[in-house]
């Protein structure tokens, strides 16, 4: 039993990690079939995990309703919406024109868009906080931000034709240099964590501690 809790997951991670590493370099049909089979397995596992997720969702919200905690009304709405969408989907299917399709198109999509639209206000408040020139770094950020913003709108061209050129230079040179530096570090770190996981050095994600 101890073997299946401790050693087996590490062994499985090693075998699958090495097989998928080798698979990347083998273009044959066998290799392609293995990869597709692996992807299918992922879908099957995700399907089973979805059952746990639904159970978790219902359990969490039922618990809030039972205990009448702050905001339990939202939990009632969540459960009612979940059940009615499930029933409508089973009865009428999820096609455009069906009740479930109508709800998706005229309720879900606009609500999603509304949530996305709030981003504009959050950007404004975050920019206000970031652009307070308290330090030299913040001043540099403020200046760079102002040049890039003004350089990318028509009024920038009106003030000076060089503004948009300078704005592009900031984006394509100092900004790109920093961007590539971060990407390079991330790529190397990803290889390192993959090696740690494949060789069982990093095991925290398995829930077994060290």
């Amino acid at each position: 039993m101890q073997f299946f809790r401790k050693q087996f997951p590490v062994l499985l991670a090693f075998v699958m990690g090495m097989l998928l590493f080798v698979q990347y370099f083998v273009p044959s049909k066998l290799s392609k079939g293995f990869y597709e089979g692996f992807a299918d397995w992922l879908i099957v596992i995700a399907g089973f995990a979805a059952i746990f997720a639904i159970a978790s969702l219902l359990h969490y919200h039922m618990g809030k309703i039972r205990k009448r905690v702050l905001g339990y009304g939202f939990s009632v709405i969540t459960i009612v919406a979940f059940i009615q969408m499930l029933v409508l989907g089973f009865v009428f299917h999820y096609r455009p024109g069906t009740p479930a399709g109508w709800e998706y198109q005229w309720l879900f999509v606009p609500m999603q868009a509304t949530m996305f639209a709030t981003l504009a206000f959050f950007i404004a408040s975050a920019a206000f906080r970031a652009f307070r020139a308290r330090t030299w770094e913040a001043l540099a950020l403020l200046l760079a931000g102002l040049i890039v913003m003004i350089g990318r709108v028509p009024i920038g061209e009106f003030i000076s034709p060089h503004l948009s050129t300078f704005s592009d230079w900031i984006l394509n040179n100092p900004n790109m240099a920093g961007y590539r530096g971060i990407l390079l570090g991330v790529a190397l770190a990803q290889i390192a964590i993959a090696v740690r996981i494949i060789f069982g050095i990093e095991r925290t994600y398995m829930g077994g501690g060290d």
Binding site: K32, S56, H59, M115, Q190, R196, I201, G207, G209
Partner: protein
């Protein structure tokens, strides 16, 4: 003095990256001149190995056309390199006097006399061999077929016979090439043939293999070294030093700690890194006897997060304090998840928010709402476009690779720290390559650049 050295190092690194960026972009600008039309020397060598090269004399299929239709030369049909044996490739030198009106059509038949099935057509301005670089084997410092990588050669890949019927491995297929201007067409008299073959090693990824093995070996070497000498130095990461402070603050205020694993699946490395940190955070939360909330977006991440937190509480000697209801599934939709988490932030008022893993457009919505509630916020992501939002709104941000180093930093385990050392060595190697490569490219020597291009 220390600050001066730090400042000087930063300036050198930024200048190097700037120089590199400028040199590579300049090189990219001048690399693709319009080469002279005739295929000579190297270009003809690139065609060697094809199953058949036909003569240059075309045969007219129709009556003498009123419009002159030019025909290409040096046409070959061969097995598609580095595939699973279901592809052929037609290559030919562009026809003399090619115009935009000229189109090529490729047909496949079971025998030299047909019947012919039209596979596809393309205008003479498209399907250049140089745009299909990924089909050609890349070796350590050069790319085979590189000579044919100018806009003098067309290339057309055949992978199915229409209606999604793939080519069969080991079966000989016959190919006919037709050139057309308007309604006037001309065929080659000679029909070309080739047989798709399955390959067992993708030579196009040789450089990737070399680099992966070398880098992997370096990391394993430093891990082995860390076993012998566990006193490894690791630079201070403020965001991770603040973890204890954030948990302690939450405990003092009697408020929960909110931990997010990002919006990606378990197959993504940022999610794995976030889960690794969750394990360390859960152990500390258990020690402080505080409470933890982990809303999840992915069902598999949910099950893994539950196990990790449970193990964290058990390792801390407080399995009874583990509350499975505190790690729950919220929704799989990106903005619904953001709305749900914002709701938790506003209602439960967590004293500390951890935003680890991969984030997209919802990053600012989450972080700004958290900032409004007055929580201490520690974020960590490798999503470069979201970093400015986190830096602006969070107290501490783990930038890129720091997210992956966090687990090692928090655990202080020599073996994991050893892998960081190996990673740093690889970084030094890359920096040297960038500096040397930039200098060489400046003086017109491009082999290091070719090596990295072949990696892609």
């Amino acid at each position: 003095m220390k600050n001066f050295i730090r400042l000087a190092t930063s300036v050198v690194v930024v200048l190097t990256l700037l120089l590199c960026s400028a040199a590579f972009s300049q090189e990219a600008d001048v690399e693709l001149p319009d080469e002279p039309f005739a295929a000579e020397g190297d270009e003809l060598e690139a065609l060697e190995g094809a199953d058949m090269v036909i003569g240059l004399e075309p045969v007219m299929e129709e009556a003498a056309p009123a419009v002159e239709v030019p025909l290409p030369t040096h046409v070959t049909v061969s097995d598609l390199p580095n595939d699973d044996g279901t592809g052929l490739v037609v290559e030919f030198e562009k026809a003399p006097g090619e115009t935009e009106a000229l189109t090529y059509t490729v047909s496949v038949g079971a025998g030299p006399d047909g019947p012919w099935q039209e596979i596809g057509g393309f205008p003479a301005t498209k399907k250049w061999k140089e745009e299909a670089r990924h089909y050609y084997p890349a070796f350590f410092l050069f790319q085979k077929g590189r000579a044919g990588m100018s806009k003098n050669f067309h290339m057309f890949v055949i992978q199915e016979l229409g209606d999604n019927v793939p080519l069969e491995t080991g079966v000989e297929y016959f190919v006919r090439l037709t050139a057309s201007v308007g309604d006037v067409s001309r065929n080659y008299a000679e029909i070309l043939s080739a047989t798709p073959e399955e390959q067992w090693f993708d030579t196009g990824r040789t450089n990737v293999l070399i680099f992966a093995v070398l880098f992997g070996a370096t990391i394993l070497y430093f891990i082995a070294r860390a076993r012998r000498d566990p006193n490894l130095f690791i630079r201070k990461i403020s965001g991770l030093d603040a973890v204890d402070e954030a948990i302690g603050r939450a405990t003092e205020m009697g408020r929960p700690i909110l931990y997010l694993n990002g919006i990606d699946t378990l197959a993504a490395l940022p999610t794995l890194a976030a889960l690794n940190i969750l394990g360390r955070v859960a152990r500390r939360v258990a020690n402080y006897e505080s409470s933890l909330i982990v809303p999840c977006k992915d069902p598999i991440v949910l099950t893994v997060a539950q196990e990790i937190v449970k193990a964290g509480y058990t390792d801390a000697g407080r399995p009874d304090a583990y509350n499975p209801d505190s790690i729950f599934f919220l929704t799989e939709d990106q903005f619904s998840y953001a709305a749900g988490v914002c709701g938790i932030m506003m209602r439960d008022k967590p004293a500390a928010n951890f935003l680890m893993g991969y984030y997209a457009a919802e990053s600012l919505i989450l972080a700004e709402t958290g900032a409004d509630t007055g929580a201490i916020q520690i974020a960590g992501t490798d999503a470069v476009h979201q970093l400015p939002f986190f830096v602006t709104t969070c107290d501490y941000t783990l930038i890129g690779e720091e997210l992956y180093a966090a687990s090692a930093y928090l655990s202080r385990e020599p073996l994991i720290l050893g892998s960081l050392k190996g990673q740093d060595m690889a970084k030094v190697f890359m920096m040297v390559m960038i500096i040397v490569g930039t200098l060489l490219v400046t003086f017109g020597i491009a082999f290091i650049k070719d090596f990295f291009l072949a990696l892609g």
